[in-house]
Symmetry: C2
Subunit: 227 residues, 2 copies
Amino acid sequence: MTGWEDIRAEVLRRIRARDWPPGGMIPTEEDLAVEFGVARATVNRALRDLATSGVLERRRKAGTRVAALPVRKATLDIPVIRLEIEARGQSHSFQVLKQSFMEPPVPIASRLGLGPGFKLLYLETLHLADGKPFAHEVRWLNSEILPRPLPDFHALSANEWLVAHVAYVSGDIAFSAEGASPREAAVLGVAPGAALFVTERMTWTAESPITFVRLAHGPGYRVQTLV
Amino acid sequence: MTGWEDIRAEVLRRIRARDWPPGGMIPTEEDLAVEFGVARATVNRALRDLATSGVLERRRKAGTRVAALPVRKATLDIPVIRLEIEARGQSHSFQVLKQSFMEPPVPIASRLGLGPGFKLLYLETLHLADGKPFAHEVRWLNSEILPRPLPDFHALSANEWLVAHVAYVSGDIAFSAEGASPREAAVLGVAPGAALFVTERMTWTAESPITFVRLAHGPGYRVQTLV
DNA sequence: GAGTGGTCTAGACCACCTC
DNA sequence: AGGTGGTCTAGACCACTCT
């Protein structure tokens, strides 16, 4: 009954027990395969998993060592906002506060790699959980590459429409803390300057930017992870 | 020249091209292996990777489908604070502001699973980047399970000593935004109530809590990820 | 140059889940 | 009950990088 997860557990045990101290080398895959009586591929699977979570550092020829200063890798789930609210047992609704077609501010245009004069669809939305303000969303959409016809974003969340109708995208995410602007304060019902948790996302198709989203969450919002 | 990464790329291309739409089934591993002319294990590796990043959903017997509402999985690197500062080309230093042995506040004690009357080592530290305040750290250490002798934490960062001398640990991480307390404001040189980015970490050995850390970062701090 | 991890193969058995 | 993904094996070749 020796699977790769058993081997991973045993390796972790030895690291915790300091049989294999931080910064030290551990035996080769082949040695471990012999010791545990499994194929090398099974050991490889276990060690590879520990390397992707930052516990081990592996290099060809150099071998495998226990990470001295482990860069912990944490995995976060970034769910669709409706699911996030429903997972709390609350009901999700939203209001489109503003919709227009205009040139984005320079910082956003440059981050999307767009020249001056390029217009984007702008959407400002308030997300509500059980009718109470949950997050303020500002979104810039590259309408040129969106499939037609465009839906009525007052009736359908832009996020979910994109997920269902636009190709799977890659992108990056950033978290920060910012003081609430007067507008955000008014919309979210907090004091101006109150600490907001801000999530910024940029998404792309293979070649073109699709959307930039900024989500500002009110007090009490947490992003949590299990390591 | 067909490796599992090529297959992952081709599968992603088909999803992006909507050959395989969101929520739809894709062929079985065996079919794809035949089509691509590789072993099933190679296809499995590619699809497994896409499943862990949230693009695909897989179930035995049910098969593999394109995620309809993709819960994006983002991976964050949580480096040791010294490395984080040095990676910006700045130099790291720190000052221990306070050190004592006392009972923690109830919320922290309960989160660590400790009964009343249990005393912990308390450390309050200011981290500096190029001499300027970078982050304010509050740390509670379970001194009972620490190896002896304890070092002089004024000379050696508690974090790095722990990494080097205590068993590799598991734990969880949470991010939030909070207004600066008067003390944090004074120490970090910001206005009281200013938005701080807060990272809270709890770490454990197999059985016992080791430490609770709260890091408050000043304005401008971002946590970024590549998806 | 040589040793190490990275990957692939072809086949097999199993656990699980839908039918 | 049967089909699907999850995993393991034994062997092989390759890429990288340290010496």
